[in-house]
């Protein structure tokens, strides 16, 4: 077998966020949650959204943040930014679904949420949050990059399982699955 990983290209999708254009309407949260409901659009709940707008109107703080990687442990150092004289809260710009906060977790199960760029079949022209942001605070861009096969993105299921492993330990999780299988 060929030991060198195969080269191939992958479409990198980015959403450019312009915080100055955000009016804090949370339409992005609404539509993201609705798009990911199953069946699709059957319910809405911003708490399940994979984009969250950090809003503090009276301090004029509006930061739409996308759910990024899940992390099992919180980081040891913290970022604190001051921009244009506005001091942002700790972790304000962080995308991680992390144990130190409730952001980017399913409200009932606590499972981590991650933006999947509205993956769907057939693919959308633009992610839903971008389509619903009429203020152009969110702008969709894509370009191609060369990647190695190992870089394949994690699936949602893998992500969920990983967080459960972190929470309960692999053994306990396997036992539980075995038990459920027997019952089923």
């Amino acid at each position: 077998m060929d030991a060198t990983p195969k080269k191939k290209t992958r479409l990198v999708k980015t959403i450019r966020v312009d915080v100055d254009k955000c009016n804090g309407c949370r339409a992005c949260e609404v539509i993201c949650s609705s798009f990911h409901a199953s069946p699709r659009y059957s319910s809405s709940n911003p708490e399940r959204s994979r984009i969250r707008v950090i809003r503090e109107p009276l301090r004029d703080i509006y930061v739409p943040v996308y759910a990024g990687e899940y992390t099992a442990a919180e980081c040891s150092g913290r970022d604190k930014y001051t921009i244009d004289g506005k001091a942002y809260d700790e972790c304000a710009f962080c995308r991680a679904s992390c144990p130190s906060r409730s952001l980017f977790k399913e409200p009932d199960s606590g499972l981590p949420l991650k933006c999947d760029m509205c993956e769907s079949d057939p693919p959308l022209d633009e992610p839903m949050c971008v389509q619903w942001c009429l203020n152009d605070a969110l702008v969709y861009e894509e370009h191609e990059v060369e990647v190695t096969e190992e870089d394949e993105p994690q699936t949602e299921l893998e992500l969920g399982v990983e967080s459960l492993v972190d929470k309960h330990g692999l053994q306990k999780l396997m036992d539980t699955i075995a038990r459920m299988k027997k019952k089923g």
Binding site: N23, G24, C25, R26, A27, V30, I31, S34, A37, P39, R40, Y41, S42, S43, S44, N45, P46, E47, R48, E56, P57, L58, R59, D60, Y62, P107, Q131, W132, C133, L134, N135
Partner: protein, 672 residues
């Protein structure tokens, strides 16, 4: 499963501290939708006419409309309903922002408050966990300030808070309920909240809200959103800038205030300053507005930006929208900088930005006319702006002269006698109106001013242009894509409407056409208020995304309740009639249905009476403005008929003669 609504109300008795989660009757949704519709039904059942506004028996209902929390853009209204301490009729006041969707996601369509707490408290709703918490430490705090303190002590930065300020605590009869960029201001509902000993409601919700037919509903929502985008690129030509687009009047965005400042009245709705708006003023106001305005902000799930964050140097930041930008400025004959400054304090105190400035200007007139003496105003600074700040402080604390003024122009004037009553000239049903005095009677506006149950013109006007277009070409252009009209005859009304001659105000639109137009506009407002849709995307602006032809599909897809245009019209009529019946039961008479005597210079008493006669008849009411037994039965409001009958209202006599109009002053003026 319930769709679009949660199917639960929260019942809170502030006297006993009892809290219950109560399942609602789905048939009520079919009959009234939700929001104002079902809240009116609750008031009808539980608030008999003897109930005093400031009493344990009065209800204060926070309702999230039926579509609130669904992805329908702009469906975010909280409708607050109670008995008004000012008009003594039903008050309903709405606020945008983020409160109602959060309430829906917490699992409730309404919070129904009754009783009176022995000490100041606030209500904390966190999904299924609901508690009444001590608010002693929040007494006297500003509404925004209190909201921040509550979020901090709950460690819930995402909690949405509706709070009162000092004005509400002291039962000012025009106190508001504040919620960030929005407020429910009109008719003194903040005073009722204060009377109940409730400083605030904080809510946080993380539950799902379902819709019945997801794909269909989403297609409609996408369509509405798309339309908004297109419509925003196409302002209506030939009307004032603030009437050209969607949303609430875009006064935070626009600098051009020629229309308001030269058409609306200054002082206690006294002086028109036709030459006010000059290049210099425009430059100066532009500087002021741009320096204090930090950002244009919207409500939940809406692409418009009707509000703004305002930071005046030296004052805490606050948010503002709409015409409140000018009400203080114009009442004090001052400038925009003063307006932004005093509005900051007024927002924290929580007062209605329509009423409060007029009340203060009225107070100063009492002094100028010698009805009150300098001793009543002891300590008042000499400078104009300082006097307004001073009066505001007295009013919200009910100190000295502020105690009487805190009751609003109507009630204060009653204390000071006939001469004072003449100065309180801008009321309908005891409630301060927009400061507007015009020349020629407009029959459509006459009817809306008279009969609107909220006594607030912006809550009934909207879809039909306020004035004719000058040329036929403009009219034809306007009606070309006017899909929102319920029927093509409305296009004809507009095409034929002229500035002068036979087909001009006051006799055109004709009496019948006027009834028809008012009925349409009012129908749309009633639908919005039941759905929790922002009027700024529906009943208020010209050519909005939501209208009578697409609403049935939205409602059906969201709720699973099949409804068509005729059915929806019937629901709106039912809700409108129920609200009328509520007020009739509380003593509303034809004689109350009068615009201020000086609203138009040219008045036509005979025509006005004809208009009222025809409108009442059109609505299925008798000549006293009371719904007839027959029309109540037709609307499945038999229980209302029965109650009114028992109380001796002449509902089965639709020939009851038109009572003599006692608008004698109006007649005298018109005659002179």
């Amino acid at each position: 499963m319930r769709f679009a609504e949660t199917g639960f109300n929260l019942e809170v008795d502030l006297s006993t501290g009892n809290i219950e989660r109560v399942e609602t009757d789905p048939r009520w949704t079919e009959q009234h939708l939700g929001g104002l519709g079902t809240s009116s039904r609750i008031l009808w059942d539980r608030c008999p006419p003897e109930v005093e506004p400031y009493s344990e028996d009065n209800l204060l209902i926070f309702a999230a409309g039926l579509l609130v929390g669904t992805p329908a853009p702009g469906a975010n209204r909280t409708v607050v309903t109670t008995i008004s301490p000012q008009s003594l009729f039903t008050a309903y006041s709405m606020m945008g922002g983020f409160f109602a969707p959060e309430l829906k996601h917490a699992g409730y369509d309404k919070v129904i408050l009754r009783g009176r707490s022995p000490s100041l408290v606030y209500l904390w709703i966190h999904n299924d966990k609901v508690e009444i918490r001590d608010a002693a430490h929040l007494r006297g705090k500003g509404a925004n300030e209190a909201a921040d303190l509550i979020r901090a002590e709950l460690h819930e930065p995402k909690a949405q808070v509706a709070a009162i300020g000092l004005a509400g605590e002291n039962r000012v009869r025009f106190a508001s309920i504040e919620h960030g960029r929005s407020s429910a201001s009109r008719l003194g509902i903040g005073g009722v909240m204060g009377d109940k000993g409730l400083k605030a409601i904080a809510v946080r919700g993380t539950k799902d809200l379902n819709v019945a037919r997801p794909a269909e509903f989403m297609e409609l929502c996408n369509g509405a959103l798309k339309y908004i985008g297109v419509r925003e690129q196409k302002p209506v030509p030939g009307v004032m800038p603030i009437l050209a687009g969607l949303g609430s009047p875009q006064e935070m965005k626009l600098i051009d205030e020629e229309w308001h400042t030269t058409n609306f009245m200054w002082g206690n709705s006294r002086t028109r300053r036709r030459d006010f708006w000059t290049k210099e003023i425009e430059e100066k106001w532009k500087g002021t507005q741009e320096s204090v305005r930090k950002r244009l902000v919207s409500c939940y799930n809406c692409p418009m930006k009707c509000g703004a964050t305002i930071s005046v140097p030296g004052e805490a930041t606050y948010m503002m929208k709409c015409f409140s930008k000018l009400t203080y400025t114009m009442a004090a004959y001052s400038d925009l900088d003063f307006g932004f400054r005093i509005a900051q304090r007024a927002t924290e105190y929580g007062v209605d930005a329509f009423s409060a400035p007029q009340v203060m200007a009225f107070g100063l007139e009492l002094l100028e006319h010698g009805i009150l003496g300098p001793s009543d105003f002891e300590g008042m600074p000499a400078d104009n702006e300082g006097r307004f700040f001073w009066l505001l402080d007295r009013i919200v604390r009910r100190e000295g002269i502020g105690d009487a003024l805190a009751d609003g122009t109507y009630w204060a004037a009653r204390k000071f006698g006939k001469a004072a009553e003449e100065l309180a000239h801008n009321n309908i049903k005891k409630h301060e109106q927009l400061p507007l005095k015009l020349g020629m009677l407009n029959p459509v506006y006459f009817l809306m001013y008279c009969t609107g149950e909220k006594s607030n013109i912006t809550q009934i006007e909207g879809q039909f242009p306020q004035a004719p277009f000058a040329t036929m070409a403009e009219r034809e252009d306007f009606v070309k894509d006017w899909v929102q009209v319920p029927d093509d005859r409305f296009k004809k009304y507009l095409l034929d409407w002229e500035f002068r001659g036979e087909r001009a105000n006051p006799t055109y639109p004709t009496v019948e056409m006027s009834c028809d137009i008012v009925d349409w506009q009012e129908r749309m407002h009633h639908i919005d208020d039941a759905l929790g849709m922002c009027a700024g995307l529906s009943s208020f602006p010209l050519k909005p995304p939501y209208h009578i032809h697409n609403y049935p599909a939205f409602i059906s897809a969201a709720t699973g309740i099949e409804v068509d245009e005729a059915g929806l019209t019937r629901i709106a009529r039912r809700n409108r009639t129920l609200l009328r019946a509520l007020n009739v039961r509380r003593g509303l008479t034809r004689d109350d249905e009068r615009p201020p005597d000086d609203h138009w210079k040219k008045r036509f008493p005979d025509l006005e009476q004809k208009l009222l006669d025809a409108y009442y008849k059109f609505k299925g009411w008798n000549l006293r403005g009371i719904p007839t037994g027959k029309s109540l039965n037709e609307l499945d409001l038999g229980f209302v008929a029965e109650d009114l009958r028992k109380r001796g209202f002449p509902i089965d006599d639709d020939t009851a003669p038109s009572p003599q109009p006692s608008g004698a002053a109006a007649e005298a003026k018109a005659a002179s």
